[in-house]
C-alpha cells in the first residue's frame, strides 16, 4: 500500500491561514509546533508536516477502514539529510515511512509501510492544464490532487 500527498503552495497560501488562533493546536503535536516555530521557513514546515500526515493517513485509512479527522493523532518525525527529507509518521501502533520533495511551487510526500519500499515508488506529477483525463486506467497506487497539481504514485 502506498500513500502520497501534494500541496500546491500558492493555493495553500490563499486557502488556509494557519496563523489563525488555535489552528496549529488542532492539527499538530507540541513537538511539531516547535518544529514550525523554530523553522527558517515556517510556511514550508507547516505544509511539509501536513503532507506527511495526509500521505500516511491515506494508507492508514485503507488498511484499517477507519475514516476520521484526527491529524493530531498522526505523529511526525523528520530526519533531514541532504536534499531529501525523510521521516516517519506514527499512529496507534503503526509507523509509516515518508519521503518529501520540497519545490518552490509545491511540496510532495510519498509514504509506505516499509522503509525499503520508498525507493521503489514511481512518482508522476502533472501540472494543469496537462492532467491526463484517463489516469485512473493506469491504476495508480494513490492519487493526490491540489490546486494546479495532480500527483500519482505507482
Amino acid at each position: 500500500m502506498l500513500g502520497n500527498d501534494i500541496v500546491d503552495l500558492d493555493l495553500a497560501k490563499i486557502q488556509s491561514n494557519w496563523r489563525r488562533k488555535n489552528y496549529l493546536d488542532k492539527i499538530f503535536t507540541t513537538e511539531e509546533q516547535l518544529l514550525i516555530s523554530s523553522a527558517k521557513r515556517p510556511d514550508e514546515m507547516v505544509w511539509l508536516l501536513w503532507s506527511m500526515k495526509e500521505s500516511a493517513y491515506k494508507i492508514y485509512n485503507r488498511k484499517t477502514g477507519i475514516r476520521n479527522f484526527a491529524p493530531k493523532s498522526l505523529n511526525c518525525t523528520i530526519y533531514p539529510n541532504n536534499d531529501q527529507i525523510k521521516g516517519t509518521v506514527s499512529i496507534d501502533n503503526d509507523t509509516y515511512f515518508t519521503k518529501s520533495d520540497i519545490q518552490l511551487q509545491y511540496i510532495h510526500t510519498i509514504a509506505a509501510p516499509i522503509y525499503g519500499k520508498l525507493e521503489k515508488i514511481k512518482v508522476t506529477i502533472y501540472q494543469s492544464p496537462n492532467h491526463p483525463g484517463d489516469y485512473r486506467s493506469t491504476k495508480p497506487g494513490c492519487v493526490s490532487h491540489h490546486g494546479q497539481y495532480l500527483a500519482l504514485v505507482y
Binding site: 488556509s16 489552528y23 488542532k26 493523532s73
Partner: protein, 86 residues
C-alpha cells in the same frame, strides 16, 4: 437550537470553503464534507474553529475526529450546547 437550526447555521459556515454550489444548496444530514462538498481537509480545521466561535463551544480532538459529515457534526454541536446549558 433544534437540529434544523443547527444545520442552517452550519451551512453558512461551510459555504465559503466549498465550490459545490448545488451540493451546498441541497445540504442535509447525509452530506459529507469531503466527498460531497469537496472541502479541502486543511479547511476542515477552519470549519471546526468557526463552529467553536459561532456556537461558543469547545471541540475536543475526539469530537473533531468524527466531524466529516453534517450528521455527526450536528450531533456534536447539539451535545456541546446541551452540556453548556446544563
Amino acid at each position: 437550537m433544534n437540529k434544523e437550526e443547527i444545520i442552517e447555521a452550519l451551512k453558512t459556515i461551510v459555504e465559503p470553503y466549498s465550490e459545490e454550489v448545488s451540493a451546498i444548496a441541497n445540504i442535509d444530514e447525509n452530506t459529507d464534507f469531503i466527498n460531497d462538498l469537496k472541502i479541502n481537509s486543511a479547511n476542515l480545521v477552519d470549519i471546526v474553529l468557526d463552529i467553536e466561535e459561532k456556537f461558543n463551544i469547545e471541540i475536543d480532538n475526539d469530537s473533531m475526529a468524527k466531524m466529516l459529515t453534517v450528521k455527526a457534526t450536528t450531533e456534536i454541536i447539539a451535545q456541546k450546547l446541551e452540556a453548556n446549558a446544563g
